[in-house]
């Protein structure tokens, strides 16, 4: 492959995959759909996907998948071009939908962080905050998760191509957990599981390994964080600091995890 842009005449919808501030895990989820990858390549023209192929077809694109948060001045500009280039724009993964784990900087001083990490921080061009794509441009759909679930990605692409509504649930992880018949780790082991407030989609991956959910799919539709917090800080002996840290992980900057974590921080400071 030469890397030269070759115009290709095609009737297939054109797919673009973009990377912003992220670990690439969500793009890899697409590549990891090994059994379905040829089906996808058959159904759409993969026009812009730098992690998978060098060939780049010019915009406009029918479907754009955008991974990562907006955390640099360059990204802040580029995200608007991406929106202009894509008919449907879908944010994939916790970074793109919430600001990601790097949004922990939003509660801190970025310069202090940079001075600690980099020998020459003056070369760094970064924003004060890491924010989700939807904070900058209009998004047609969001897929949660760190990383996203391959089945959900396939479902969204299939639904878009068929012109139907994607079946992406907004209820709790507990629903998927109970459907699988997995023993509840919160009730039977006393593990601090965030399943009751976290959106489904992973297929109850962690409870399936007898582990507590740590909320990587972010808040479900109308979570009652205080009620779970009451159980965790009461019967299970977690502290307000623990609660704050559990909420501020992959989706810490997303409402209502953010205001709830701020409230636990306030309670933590009150204790001091």
């Amino acid at each position: 492959m030469s890397g030269i842009t070759i115009p290709v005449q095609t009737d297939k919808p054109k797919l673009a995959v973009y990377k912003f501030s992220s670990c690439d895990g969500c793009q890899l989820t697409l590549l990891n759909l090994e059994d379905h990858l040829l089906d996808i390549a058959g159904a759409v023209e993969i026009s812009f996907f730098l992690e998978a192929r060098r060939r780049v077809l010019p915009p406009p694109y029918d479907i754009g998948l955008i991974e990562g948060s907006v955390s640099t001045p360059e990204e802040e500009k580029r995200v608007h071009q991406v929106r202009r280039d894509c008919k449907y724009l879908i944010a994939i993964g916790a970074c793109a939908t919430s600001g990601g784990i790097q949004s922990l900087r939003n509660w801190a001083n970025v310069k202090e962080y940079a001075d600690l990490v980099y020998p020459s921080p003056e070369y760094l061009k970064t924003l004060e905050t890491s924010t989700p794509v939807a904070a900058h441009v209009f998004i047609d759909f969001e897929l949660r998760g760190c990383p996203i679930n391959g089945g959900q990605l396939l479902e969204v692409i299939s639904a878009l191509l068929a012109g139907r509504k994607p079946n992406i649930p907004s209820y709790s992880v507990c629903m998927e957990c109970k459907r699988r018949g997995l023993p509840c780790v919160l009730v039977s082991k006393g593990e601090p599981c965030l399943g009751p407030i976290t959106q489904a989609g992973c297929g109850a991956l962690c409870p399936g390994c007898s582990r507590a959910c740590y909320g990587c799919f972010g808040p479900m539709d109308q979570p009652n964080i205080g009620a779970l917090g009451g159980k965790l800080t009461g019967e299970l002996g977690k502290t307000n600091r623990d609660m704050k840290r559990m909420l501020r992980s992959f989706n810490g900057y997303l409402d209502p995890f953010k205001p709830a974590s701020d409230e636990y921080e306030r309670l933590e400071q009150q204790e001091k």
Partner: protein
């Protein structure tokens, strides 16, 4: 015992060793045997091939939002009650593909229909779960059509139910969240079983409730029980009534639920309820499902799948105008009023069998018996017709 004519007598004694014989006989007759097993320290219904896979030597400790399985070498076989799982999933699977088809030219071509259910023998069904199966029989249209209050027949459920064998285990050790006695469903199975067992020291009092059950007994090394063994079995289940962990006063409850539509306790429970749907998932009678269509990119096959749903999810009552029950208060109240009240109008029975699962497996331990009792505390509250609560935002 071969060659012994049991006549029309319907009660026998089966030794502890005889249980192994029972499992072997069931398997020889082509049944897939399902029994309570231990999975990750929780009693769970699972397929077994031999008797030593049945949970034994353990007892359970339960409370609101809490469950622990304790090793107890002195425990007999069925010395626990129910885990989070019920036989519900065996007849009404949590996920079931209903149909798959594709388009050829101008017509639909059928690829698949829903799978055939296995021929099940469920060993160790508790009386509350037996009652729950009868409740779901009406929901899924199984059994006598003249009984009234029944829905259209569900194909999978009816097939699975028709070919299944139910072997009940009467309860002699009720749990702390059990209240079957209040609901009139236990601790002794009265009807709806093929065989029932009451565990004594060295074996079981065995009763047959159907011809299929009697046919199994004919193959087992049973003997006549002594009068004292029958009396002991009776005594053990009688005593279990006195040791129920909880009680629910059902007297006038349906009317009470109608009157107390604006009782302050609904606001209180809404603060605790996470709408996580655990109660409805573990409830042996909850029957809600959602049907979604999906398509395969490669083959173009479209499939229709049914999954367990819950009235606690926000999207459950979603219409073009938004969710009909948008608050936790509305959803909890709807569920409880249906379970204990409007179920009577719909199906001619209570929707609650007193198994206590919704209390044990609610992560925050909301207790339906306490909620029901709390409604008796106040005179009915009359609010202005247009007043309703909007519960939004984060409060901790």
């Amino acid at each position: 015992m071969a060659g012994v004519d049991h006549g029309i007598r319907d009660v026998w004694f089966l030794s502890m060793q005889g249980l192994e014989h029972m499992v072997r006989t069931l398997r020889a007759k082509g049944y897939t045997v399902v029994a309570p097993t231990v999975r990750d320290r929780v009693i769970t219904f699972d397929e077994i091939v031999s008797v030593d896979q049945i949970a034994c030597g353990v007892r359970d400790e339960m409370g609101p939002g809490r469950y622990r399985l304790i090793d107890d070498p002195l425990s007999r076989v069925f010395n626990y009650v129910v885990g989070q799982d019920s036989p519900k999933r065996l007849f009404f699977p949590p996920k079931l593909e209903l149909v798959a088809l594709h388009v050829e030219g101008k017509r639909f071509v059928l690829d698949r229909t829903s799978p055939k259910p296995p021929k099940l023998a469920i060993l160790g069904v508790r009386p509350c779960d037996l009652a729950a199966i009868r409740v779901q029989d009406r929901v899924f249209g199984y059994g006598d059509e003249s009984a009234g209050h029944r829905c259209e027949a569900d194909t999978y459920y009816n097939q699975a139910r028709k070919q299944s064998l139910l072997i009940a285990a009467n309860c002699t050790q009720p749990g702390a969240t059990c209240f079957c006695d209040s609901m009139g469903t236990g601790p002794r199975a009265k009807e709806g079983y093929d065989l029932s067992m009451t565990e004594l020291g060295g074996g079981f009092i065995l009763r047959a409730g159907s011809d299929d059950g009697r046919a199994i007994v004919n193959e087992l090394p049973v003997r006549d029980p002594s009068p004292s063994e029958i009396e002991l079995g009776q005594l053990k289940t009688d005593q279990a009534c006195e040791r129920m962990g909880r009680q629910l006063d059902t007297d006038g409850l349906k009317e009470l639920l109608d009157e107390q539509i604006d009782h302050p306790s609904w606001d209180e429970v809404a603060k605790r309820c996470m709408a996580c749907s655990n109660c409805t998932m573990v409830c042996p009678t909850c029957f809600c499902s959602t049907v979604t269509d999906s398509d395969d990119l490669a083959t173009g096959t479209a499939s229709r799948t049914r999954r367990w749903e819950s009235c606690f999810t926000h999207q459950f009552s979603y219409t073009t105008a938004g969710s009909v029950r948008s608050s936790q208060r509305a959803r909890y109240r709807h569920w409880m009023r249906h379970k204990l009240g409007t179920w009577w109008d719909q199906f001619g029975s209570s929707g609650c069998v007193g198994c206590g699962r919704c209390i044990t497996w609610c992560p925050v331990g909301i207790d339906i018996t306490k909620q029901a009792a709390g409604l008796r505390d106040h005179e009915p509250v009359k609010r202005h017709a247009g007043t309703h609560h909007i519960e939004r935002g984060v409060t901790i």
